[in-house]
């Protein structure tokens, strides 16, 4: 899967470790939420970066106290029509203050990228079409009404005295 970060294709620094596979001695790894819960202290004691893959029903709040020690949170779009990860993303960013990498994985298509970015994602595992059309899709709609994760939106701002000039 091509991985896009800051608008460019990048190599994936993370290795996903299956629940039944042994942990490598070093290197950045991601594990499922289940494994995270079971092996939290040994994962944190490994002295190498660790990330967590959350399913749509895994509670983001459970990561709250460890978020500054987690290098990546991966959220899942089992089908691009399943929008639960958008709520998880916003909760991680806005409620829990997560600042690390937030990655969209699964059925990530270019026509949903704008929604993902505004919900707080910053890296995307896309298909070939998504990689090729990434920049165009991200630039398609630059005007947003409602406040979301990275911007305040214009619904509330454009009428008040603190009126902003840009649309971002």
């Amino acid at each position: 899967m091509p991985l896009v970060k800051d608008g460019a294709l990048v190599a994936d620094a993370w290795t996903r470790i299956a629940d039944d596979a042994a942990l490598p001695g070093d290197g950045a790894v991601t594990v499922s939420f289940k494994r995270w819960e079971a092996e939290r202290s040994s994962l944190l004691g490994r002295n190498a970066p660790v990330g967590v893959f959350l399913g749509n029903t895994d509670p983001v709040e459970a990561l709250a106290s460890d978020l500054n020690r987690i290098g990546v949170v991966m959220l899942d779009f089992p089908k691009y029509t399943d929008g639960r990860a958008y709520s998880q993303a916003r909760l991680l960013r806005e409620r829990l203050g997560y600042r690390g990498e937030l990655r969209a994985t699964g059925n990530v298509l270019r026509d949903q990228l704008l929604f993902m970015r505004r919900s707080g994602f910053d890296t995307y595992e896309v298909d070939e079409r998504g990689a090729a059309g990434f920049a165009a899709s991200m630039a398609a709609v630059t005007h947003a009404y409602q406040p979301a994760t990275n911007d305040a939106g214009m619904l509330l701002r454009r009428y008040t005295s603190a009126r902003a000039s840009g649309a971002k």
Binding site: Y86, E94, T149
Partner: protein, 551 residues
Amino acid sequence: MYRYDEFDHDFLAERVAQFGDQVARRLSGELTEEEFRPLRLMNGLYLQLHAYMLRIAIPYGTLSATQLRALAHVARRYDNGYGHFTTRQNMQFNWIKLEEVPQAMADLAAAEMHGIQTSGNCIRNVTADQWAGVAPDEIEDPRVWCEIIRQWSTLHPEFSFLPRKFKIAVTGSPHDRAAVRVHDIGLRLHRNEAGEIGFEVMVGGGLGRTPYIAKTIREFLPKQDLLSYLEAILRVYNQLGRRDNIYKARIKILVHALGAEKIAELVEAEWQQMRDGALKLPQATIDAISTHFAPPDYPTRDPMPPQLMAARLRDPDFARWLRSNVAPHRVPGYAIVSISLKPEGAPPGDCTAGQMDALADLSERYSFGETRVTHEQNLVFPHVAQEHLPELWRALDALELATPNIGLASDIIACPGLDYCSLANARSIPVAQHLGQRLGALDRQHDLGNLQVKISGCINACGHHHVGHIGLLGVDKNGEEFYQITLGGSAADDASLGAILGPAVAYDKVVDTVASLVEGYVGLRENGERFLDTYRRVGAAPFKERLNAAR
């Protein structure tokens, strides 16, 4: 009326271009139909039985003359010369070509119109009381709040892939003309004991195969908290709503499964965490949007114009129209005029391009350029000087738009049914046509008063049959069209779901059967009772007898 500012225009231009690109990618084969589907639905484009259908949002049912002309243009240029007003205050074009959709969208955008969120599993076009701003009993204009909700919900990043579609309706009057209790969220503006105005918030109403009346989860919500509270409801629903079965995915099922109290608790907990956040509405925003809905400058008009009195005495047809289609306005000397799109024997809600253009002209002459669309599939001129009523009536009559049947038996709501819809079991439109004629005749004979007949071609209930005083539901019995009859429904402030009267009736018997039920009511009614009142008083038994005798 709300006018776009630069921001709205720039947004819509980007959106039109984006969809144009998506259509091009679909036509080139880069996008599969499965991938394209939610994209086109979020822009109002359906694939129907015979062709693509394009659904255009008419936000809270308000149209300027320019917008009405733009709809006429699309009907003429890209469709078969007419459009169809729906029960959700939208307009549908049934014969659109995919290649032409981007151009039609661009034409509409010039008139500040689009198809955004008229379909798909997102927050749909918000609906409101069609008498907003002019109803004498109104507490506050709901359109201000609809516009705020429209902006907040447009391309919402978190709530564009919900478990299922999501409909919000707002009313600002004690008399509910917006059917708020059969929406996913119903909002009712009212005054609390301290005299402040806020919202009663109702959740989980809806029709379809499992109809529910919405439950109140908050009696009084301060106005500046509206968006944060809505966001809290949507977030709870987005995370907990079922996604494994599309028939169980609406929020009404979640509300029913967990109970209204539990939902209220979850929403409250979510809301408490964000109520003072970025969504709290500054008064400046509310004020700025309110100015768009300031009433027009009404010149002083005679509240008892002699030409009106004379016309009423001279012309019984005019007097009849006045009784059924004209309602009191909050400003003396003015009236609210309803324009029936249900001439006897015609498909409910259809309007030709010529009629739309002519109505646009009339609205400019008689209604400050404003037209409203009702969820009963009729139109409204909200600000007509009473002294103009006779000439307006003559002009409407010449356009075949002066049928005097608003709220009466022949003012039937019907879904498109088998003529257009791939899900239908039965033809709704021909039944509505025949029944309209029959009930129109009975009405002239017996003065039936307010009687709401609603017809759906299948269990999805787009014709709102559950909340008709008389509801008809098309069902399939061994490949034949039958109609199940329900009685006693209402979508108004006394909202209730109708009860099934008995075995379904065959297509060729349904008109006779309904006529017999109505005749039964005529025999039973006591002074001034509507059909619904009589039914609620005497119960189903006498109507059951008639059903069994007639079918």
